[in-house]
């Protein structure tokens, strides 16, 4: 073979955990679990030829090392190249993250549809170049109100580009809901809670539009922050944001039904009110923004976890409520044993469960 080096494609990035590692493919959006010894091998790729690696690992490991090479090549994670080509393939610069928004996403709760209030919120979100919003209705509303609310956020003079809606079922007609996507191009998803059936509708051709029906009663803040095994987010933006920022809270705000501004709906601390304060001022509050930069590399246990850069964080419910750097409460994965357990029955978590008043939720 005249190819002397093996290198990983720059968007296939190995992440080391305490007991095993991942290769995160940020172009094809998938992950593979690999042993740490393969991780350690990949670190040597740039500075050692294939032959040298085989010699270095010794005759007794030759077959294993060769198998690792074959695995990486066949999975499309790596390719062979010549020594003089190595410098032509720089790594992906994962330390550069930016968005053309001061606030990239906002969760807004309304208990009724008041046009003036909605326009005020939309205009305020414009001042911080908010691009995506999730509107949650805390009470049942009429279809006409839903339609009105969405159309206000959809306006051409509003910079928001993505609207997600969570609404309690009120005998809505499916065709009416589908029609909302035709009239409002910014509308991306509708989640209908308290529905009789559980299903997802995405067979209509308006971009990435989806309607989700769920039998869950309502979208309560205490339900947030769940960690479901094998439901990870593998993509370039998420991975890069995760290097130095919090994957849930970075450039996020929540506005509750009374107008209070918080980091997220599940957190108690408020930083002002949308009716009286300017968002441009509020987002200068360091207590609000400091949580944006808590990365997984700083969170206890998570920093040892192989999934840390493909996993959403939660700072609202943590194992030790007095330590903002403690592990997310609702995560049942243990990177030291590599076992997923039900978080809610873990005896070590009961104090925090009581602290947050989650007992009722846990019993369900």
């Amino acid at each position: 073979m005249d190819c002397h080096y093996i290198i990983l494609f720059a968007n296939c990035i190995p992440v080391k955990g305490v007991n095993r590692s991942l290769i995160c493919d940020l172009q094809k959006n998938n992950i593979s679990i690999i042993p740490n010894e393969l991780y350690d091998l990949t670190i040597l790729f740039d500075s050692n030829s294939v032959d040298r690696l085989l010699v270095y690992y010794g005759l007794e490991n030759r077959i294993i090392v060769q198998d690792y090479f074959n695995f990486l090549i066949e999975s499309g994670y790596a390719f062979y190249c010549q020594e003089d080509e190595i410098e032509n393939f720089p790594s992906l610069d994962i330390d550069q993250f930016d968005l053309p928004s001061l606030i990239s996403n906002a969760i807004i709760e309304f208990d009724s549809v008041d046009g003036d209030n909605i326009m005020h919120v939309a205009k305020e979100l414009d001042t911080v170049f908010c691009s995506a919003i999730e509107v949650r209705f805390t009470k049942k509303i009429e279809f006409a109100d839903l339609e009105n609310c969405i159309s206000l956020f959809n306006g051409n003079d509003i910079r928001i580009s993505e609207v997600h809606v969570v609404v309690t079922d009120n005998y809505f007609n499916l065709d009416d809901l589908k029609n909302l996507f035709v009239k409002n191009l910014k509308l991306t998803t509708i989640t209908v809670t308290g529905s009789l059936k559980q299903c997802e509708i995405s067979d209509f051709s308006y971009g990435n539009s989806h309607i989700f029906f769920t039998t869950l009663n309502s979208h309560q803040p205490i339900c947030c922050g769940n960690f479901i095994p094998n439901s990870f987010t593998t993509n370039m933006y998420f991975f890069i944001e995760s290097q130095h920022h919090n994957t849930c809270l970075n450039r996020k705000i929540a506005i509750d039904k009374d107008g209070n501004i918080k980091n997220c709906p599940s957190m108690q601390k408020t930083f002002g009110n949308i009716r009286d304060d300017k968002l441009l001022t509020i987002i200068k509050n360091e207590e609000l923004t400091s949580k944006w930069n808590i990365s997984k590399d700083e969170v206890k246990v998570c920093r040892d976890c192989e999934f840390r850069h493909v996993c959403m964080d939660c700072r609202a419910y943590v194992e030790d409520p007095h330590d903002i750097y403690s592990k997310p409460l609702k995560c049942g994965y243990n990177p030291y044993t590599m076992v997923w357990d039900e978080w809610s029955i873990n005896p070590l978590k009961q104090a925090a469960v009581e602290y947050y008043g989650l007992q009722k939720l846990v019993k369900n």
Binding site: F9, A10, N11, Q27, G76, F79, Q82, E87, N88, F89, P90, S91, L92, D93, I94, Q96, D98, P100, S101, L102, F129, R159, S161, M236, I240
Partner: protein, 312 residues
């Protein structure tokens, strides 16, 4: 204010515009569908109206992304009854065209990215310049009969169009001018003039976006069993990774950019199986979204920073 000329407002224009707003740079986008009017035009300055007065002295920088400036052609309003109405309309179009052309000239004297005068650069001229700069290029011939192709000595040749990319859809049938491989013996004796090139076996392709004196390059690996002639055809199965061209190639490309007087463009290169970098073509209004996204170069932000920066 920063003036942006674009054929439409897509995601990357929108991203640049948002970064500009965040820098208080006051961007204004004029799209193909916008009709402006001339308020005044002198040798040194102009004012046009499009929702507001846009004066050259207020414009600090200019980005020609694509598209054109459209000025209302109302010459026929005065000659509705004339039997020469079609000629008059054409005359009006030419008149306005000459003014618009001078407005472009005034705009490009500002700090600017891109040039409308370069958007339809001649492919053969570019190949000649590339050779003069020391870049390898494929053997190229514009042929009208199959006999003249025998000089290549190859069974199969690459066939491509000489002018702008063409694509139309009629009854779900897409007709376009993608480059493709043809067997010489399957061609008729004589045909419409076409560019033929020898087919170069490639390791990977390189798309390099030239912007403000830097090359932002990306290697494109095609799936081994589906090596394609034209990367646009097989978007999903490819692998896109950041790439750094060798210094010597960058220097030659830089010379080419100077020769062609381009301050931005997308460049197509092949790394051949025998290890050579073969220059294929430049697209002065080529897209950069993929290069920016897959390599995390954040070119939208770099464009905005450049346009917004004062006294550069």
């Amino acid at each position: 204010m920063v003036l942006i000329l674009s054929d439409g407002v897509d995601k990357s224009v929108n991203t640049v515009v948002r970064y500009l707003y965040l820098k208080n740079a006051h961007p204004i986008v004029i799209q193909n569908s916008d009709i402006s009017t001339i308020i005044q035009l002198s040798i040194n300055e102009f004012t046009i109206f499009r929702e507001q007065n846009i004066s050259s002295d207020k414009i600090s920088s200019y980005w020609f992304r694509r598209g054109q400036l459209n000025i209302e052609n109302n010459i026929i309003d005065c000659y509705q009854q004339s039997p020469l109405i079609n000629y008059i309309r054409d005359f009006g179009k030419n008149e306005i065209g000459s003014y618009i052309s001078y407005i472009y000239y005034l705009l490009e004297k500002k700090k600017s990215i891109g040039s409308i005068f370069k958007s339809e650069i001649n492919k053969l001229y570019v190949l000649r310049c590339a050779e003069l700069c020391g870049l390898s290029t494929p053997n190229t011939l514009v042929a009208t009969n199959s006999d003249s192709l025998l000089c290549f000595g190859d069974e199969s040749l690459l066939i491509k169009s000489g002018s702008k990319f063409f694509s139309y859809t009629i009854n779900n049938l897409i007709i376009n001018s993608y480059s493709s491989l043809v067997k010489v013996n399957s061609l008729p004796e004589s045909f419409f003039p076409n560019i033929f090139q020898n087919y170069i076996e490639k390791q990977y392709e390189i798309r390099s976006f030239f912007l403000i004196n830097e090359f932002y390059s990306m290697a494109i690996f095609s799936k081994n069993d589906e090596k394609s002639i034209d990367n646009r055809k097989s978007f999903l199965c490819n692998r896109y990774v950041p790439y750094k061209l060798p210094k010597i190639i960058e220097q030659k490309l830089f010379d080419l950019m100077q020769k062609l007087q381009l301050n931005t463009c997308s460049i197509d290169i092949i790394k051949s199986t025998d290890g050579h970098f073969v220059f294929l073509e430049v697209n002065p209004d080529g897209i950069f979204e993929n290069v920016s996204y897959f390599c995390n170069y954040q070119l939208e932000k770099k464009i905005a920073n450049y346009l917004a920066k004062k006294n550069d």
